[in-house]
Amino acid sequence: MSSLTDRQIFGIAVILYGISAVYSIFLLRRETRRDNRVNYFLLLAAFLAHSYSMVLSGFSLASCPIKNLYGATTFVLWTMVAAYLLVGSFHKLRFLGAFASPLLFGIGVFALFTPRHVSEAVPNFTGGWGSLHIAAFTLAYAAWGLSAVAGVMYLTQERDLKMHKLRAILSLMPPIQRLEMVTNRLLIAGFVLFTIGLGVSVTFAHKGEFTMRGDFKVIWAAFVWLLYLGLILLRWKFWRGRRFAGSAIGAFAFVLLTFWGSSLMSPSHDPRAMPETKTNPQRQ
């Protein structure tokens, strides 16, 4: 495996995520504990390959591998899988993988198509705040991703209960009230992390090197922040249940679909506009 580049190893991980996603379709049709265990080990194998690719990437960059869109996306994906593997170690919650796998596979495929220019971080941050900026944002996306997964589970289970399907009872899913609570808490956790990321940007970014005003990524981030703030307030005052779960999914779909485009339209985040640093050619 050492002759493979980190990207190729990540490709193997994505293939495993894909197999898990296909297997999940079978699982969602006929759920049994033993099958969930198979899916868990598929995701564990993918996670190990994914982790190894990140380690190789880190060595090639001689730093934390979150230096570009590829690094950020794979880190979001890695965080989500790690969270699932932790939760899935409790056998009653292992079925969550069946709902997470398609999303994980989607993010993995997206990451494979992102360019991996390694940019000098623009804007630059004083001290170690740049790492906190990136970590807070990526963890926020991971939390929102998991919130969307919980939302999908809510809608699936709620629909089955409404339609009087036997699988609503046979399912190993938690009660819908708890699923809604999990969706909400993950959404709030993501919002707090996102707010920290924004706060760090505003406070510690070197203002002289770029202007926040008019930067599309900044506008986009502010919009996303407002979108999630609105969702939290709506849930608190008005929306519960199906509408809230649907909104959590919709909001994350928006983030997923516009993230790349918003980066391309931002002078401070566009990887094409950034000076590329040298990386280990053996690992490219």
Binding site: L161, H164, A168, I169, P175, I176, Q177, R178, R240, G241
Partner: protein
Amino acid sequence: MPVVVLGLSHHSSPVTVRERFAFSEARIPAVLQSMRESGLAEEAVILSTCNRVEMYVATSLEPAKAFAELQDFLVRIHDYRDPLADEIYKKSEPESVEHLFKVACGLDSLVLGETEILGQLKKAYDLALQHQHTGSRLNKIFQRAFNVAKQVRTETNIQRGSVSVGSVAAELAEKIFSSLSDRSVMVIGAGDTSEKTARALLSRGAKHILVSNRSHDRAVALAADLGGRAVGFDDWAKEFARIDIIISSTSAPGYVIDRAKLVPLIKLRRGDPLLLIDIAVPRDIEPEVNFLEDVFLYNIDDLQAIAADYLKQRRNEIEHCEGIIREKARGVLTTRPITANQKQSGLSSASSAMHP
């Protein structure tokens, strides 16, 4: 020394016959003693429940002779003088051992896959063991039966799901609410099925029960039974904002709860889910309310369909269970009898099979 079984169950005889062959627990040790003293049995266990009376016997007699004498003994001891056709069944090895395993697994029960029989079997075995009416042969076979029951429970879906209306309703509630302990249940119409459903919810942790009935006295009586509170029949809507589960079973000719009545009340709930269980015929709750957000309506047909689906699933597992049972019966019949030391460790394993 072969093991045989002779008995009668709900499959072979009506309750009018079974009740005449039933043994009280206090009488069983003396009957076992008598069987052994008469030379009919070297070892014996008697299982007597509402659905079956069975004698498991290790005997040195030829099976045909043993069956004739055991039936004669059973008839005589109960002073049964009416003619018998096929009410009493007789099985010799390996069917006798397979039958015991099936009984332990609930495969021979009236409610397929039920677990109560395992406790009853354990109790019957313990009684015989305490009075020293079992030996190496029956010890080994009964202990293996308890192990097989545990294996079947963990490896198959024979015990999965609920097969009664009340239990299905309770399971549904557990799929909607995070916890039943802080949920309020209202029973509208104090009928038998609604009482059973309320009890199923109570057994799963529900604590606050309100009972409303046209006859207030009946409501008060049932509320007292369930540890709840009675509410006037015309006042139930006032309590609605705090209610999470409604079980309705009135004999009203029209809808007691309809969409028009429910819509303004739903707004008071701020998005909390509401489970409506309509077990009345004619129905008490307008079906259209199921289209309201956060409202889950199940009528008697829905609940029975789920219970029937569960039962079907259990039936589909029978073949799998029987495969395990055949293999284990073959195994136990080809190995040596259990020793005295192994008996005690086997007992603890039997106990763990019942209380995992």
